[in-house]
């Protein structure tokens, strides 16, 4: 029986003051969907909250995902839940991985991280290193103790510049961005003010040199449902109930309406189905943000419904 991806927290560890890492694996030990640096997953917490976290583990390990979670005192409770409630052994729903922040080819990279913004950059750094690219990381944070993954980064030696604010102040961006270099890609992730400053600093750089990902608390829609929902098949007029333990694909199939599928992971696109009414809970790796917001199609092997009812063109 197929169900939406549900992973077990196999390890929860402190990475620094205020940051924990979660290691997630399938309860049956199976392979997880592939991902590339810059990808994030949606974690659907047991309380129904959905939060996005960048994958910062090792893609050569097909069996676990790792994410870093910062406790955000001003947050809406998702990070507090992870820090205070979530325990090894708990199950969390997972959507994606999706990637809005891919690593493009480059001879040189300048990585600029602010705080927890280091997470998507970690696998990028490893990859840049593997490819033999020339790269530099400038990593700022409040204090050394608050900055996660410093021990891991130490192995890279002088390429890594650690800039705790209480020791050195803010990252000296003019120093790093003064000379536009057509062979360098600038990757930046972190809080809004850092991104704004890097954007300003790159104004004289070639177009497309700068790539950023903003950690913003996105407008939270309806929480993911843990209750069953109905799917109405418009062409046949039938309605099927989708319980939490089955995918829409399988529920529809059991009602005798087969949808072609292939990967069953939301990565290949084969099972695309038009949505006529209702709001899909997208868990695929395919749609970009605009397409997700449009809500007019979904990948029924993994995606579900936010409301009581979805109407599909089947």
């Amino acid at each position: 029986m197929e169900r939406a991806l549900e992973l077990r927290v196999v390890e929860k560890a402190a990475a620094s003051e205020g940051v924990v890492t979660l290691t997630l694996a399938r309860p049956d030990g199976g392979r997880l969907p592939d991902w590339a640096p810059g990808a994030h997953v949606d974690l659907i917490l047991p309380n129904g909250d959905t939060r996005q976290y960048s994958l910062c583990g090792d893609r050569w390990d097909a069996h676990t995902y790792r994410v870093g979670v910062l406790r955000e005192p001003a947050g809406r409770g998702g990070s507090a839940y992870v820090h205070d409630e979530l325990r090894p052994g708990d199950l969390v729903g997972v959507g994606g991985p999706r990637n809005n922040f891919p690593l493009v080819p480059g001879e040189r990279y300048l990585f600029v991280a602010g705080g927890i913004g280091i997470t998507p950059l970690l696998p990028m750094i490893r990859q840049a290193d593997l490819l033999g690219a020339d790269w530099t990381l400038v990593y700022g944070g409040r204090t050394r103790a608050s900055m996660a993954f410093l021990a891991e980064l130490e192995a890279y030696g002088e390429r890594v510049h650690v800039v705790p604010q209480d020791e050195f102040g803010l990252i000296d961006l003019p120093r790093w961005l003064a000379e536009p270099d057509p062979a360098t890609k600038v990757y930046c992730c972190g809080p809004g003010p850092l991104l704004d400053a890097v954007e300003r600093g790159c104004s004289g750089w070639p177009e497309h040199a700068l790539r950023t990902e903003r950690f913003v608390a996105r407008e939270q829609g309806a929480p993911a449902r843990s209750a069953p929902f109905d799917v109405e098949l418009a062409r046949t007029g039938r309605t099927v109930t989708v319980t939490p333990d089955v995918s829409v694909l399988d529920a529809v199939g059991r009602a005798g309406v087969e949808v072609l599928s292939s990967c069953r992971q939301g990565t290949c696109g084969t099972c695309e189905t038009d949505v006529l009414d209702g709001i899909p809970d997208h868990r695929d790796s395919i749609l970009d943000d605009a397409e997700r917001a449009a809500g007019d199609c979904m990948f029924v092997c993994v995606s579900r419904s936010l409301g009581d009812r979805l109407v599909l063109d089947l």
Binding site: R31, D34, A36, P37, R59, W60, A62, N99, P102, L103, V104, P105, G106, Q127, L130, L131, K185, H208, A209, G253, E258, L260, S261, S262, C263, R264, C268, G269, T270, E272, I286, L287, E291, C297
Partner: protein
């Protein structure tokens, strides 16, 4: 377990006899064990669905970058620069794959749908103005992809006849250097040069897949050096495979009249029909991988650097996975077949192939009440592809 204790055979899967009718050999392989040693080429064979599927998704343990043919790029120089998609693994595979899957994704193809359906209707109309009997290989299976695909890529009008021989040689070259490869070697350089010349920005129209690839390089998503290589991948893998997939679905219907009747009643089964035909005939029969370390498969250790031959066609007919696998049956859910591969390297053009086939099958279903195959037809032998040289059909107009 060691090599000495696993089942082995001296039969050459690339011999003309096996290529002409691979099914008995594949059945033997499946039954012999989960891993079989092929002594003729000193490679390991997977023919059961479970192992083929597992091998396809395990890019970490079984790499593509050492070549997906018999030739091992760790030790041998490839005959052409390796493909950035087919013959690459992460991290080098990422950017080209990402760009191409965006351009060929189901959402992006929506704009082609209407045009291709209209093109298919026109082609079928033209065909049905002629005699009732025809060879479906040139008349449909080749004609339709060659009508729509090069335009969609943005190729110029001249030299398109080179596409099929180029693809044919490329797919032969994944096998051992046998007579099929020798026969193609004479023109290989000339065809590769022609294909290469079509991949430059100037050679491509401004509105096709090719231009979209170049536009991605303008945005820095791939490099200007990668762009022509990615266009080349489209031209290499996008033509022959679709041609043989379409021939497969036509052959399936021509030999299963009850399935044609069913399709006529429910034309929306055209999509299922194509995937079922891809499962049933597996136009791409085999691909190789190379072990990146000693890997254990079903109790057998495959040594680092060994070539593994995955029999997609055998997996698609494995009775451990499919009920009555030899039947072409529209009531079956063919989902999960490995005819397009699986995982990271799964055919990036699968939605293009499906759309082409769906358009053509839908147009035929509207105009033709029955199709029959006239005689046995003639197989076209290729080291990788299962194909028809000639598929004589007779149709009755609706």
């Amino acid at each position: 377990m060691t090599t000495a204790t696993i089942p082995a055979t001296g039969i050459d899967p690339f011999s003309p006899e096996v290529l002409a009718d691979p099914l008995p050999f594949q059945a033997w392989l499946r039954d012999a064990g989960s891993v079989v040693h092929l002594a003729t080429h000193d490679v390991y064979a997977f023919a059961r669905y479970e192992q083929v599927h597992a091998a396809l998704v395990d890019w970490q343990g079984l790499q593509s970058a050492a070549g997906v043919g018999l030739s091992n790029f760790r030790f041998e120089k490839p005959w052409r620069p390796p493909s950035l998609l087919l013959e690459a693994d992460p991290p080098r595979h990422d950017a080209p794959r990402r760009v191409l899957s965006g351009i060929l994704g189901p959402r992006a193809l929506r704009r082609l749908r209407e045009r291709w359906f209209a093109d298919a209707e026109r082609l079928v109309d033209e065909l049905l103005d002629g005699p009732d009997e025809f060879d479906a290989v040139p008349a449909l299976a080749e004609a339709f992809p060659l009508r729509v695909f090069p335009d969609a890529v943005g190729l110029g009008p001249d030299g398109r006849e080179n596409l099929l021989p180029y693809g044919n040689h490329l797919f032969n070259a994944f096998g051992p250097p046998n007579a099929l490869v020798e026969a193609g070697n004479g023109r290989a350089a000339e065809l590769a040069a022609w294909v290469g010349a079509q991949c430059t920005r100037d050679a491509l129209s401004g509105d096709g897949f090719g231009a979209a690839i170049w536009a991605a390089s303008d945005r820095g998503e791939i490099t200007p050096e990668q762009a022509p290589m990615i266009v080349r991948s489209l031209l290499s893998a996008g033509v022959d495979t679709t041609v043989h997939g379409i021939a497969a679905v036509l052959h399936a219907f021509a030999t299963h009249p009850e399935q044609w009747r069913r399709l006529r009643e429910r034309p929306d089964l055209a999509r299922v029909a194509f995937d079922e035909a891809v499962r049933w005939q597996s136009p791409v029969q085999t691909f190789f991988r190379t072990a990146t370390r000693d890997v254990e498969i079903g109790g057998t250790v495959i040594p680092d650097g060994s070539k593994i031959l995955m029999f997609l066609g055998a997996a698609n007919r494995d009775p451990r996975r499919w009920t009555e696998p030899d039947a072409f049956d529209l009531a079956r859910d063919p989902s999960g077949h490995v005819g397009f591969g699986m995982g990271l390297h799964q055919c990036v053009g699968q939605h293009v192939a499906r759309l082409e086939a769906e358009a053509l099958v839908t147009a035929l279903a509207a105009r033709v009440s029955s199709i029959e195959q006239v005689g046995d037809g003639e197989r076209h032998l290729n080291n990788t592809l299962r194909a028809w040289a000639s598929l004589p059909l007779r149709v009755h107009r609706a």
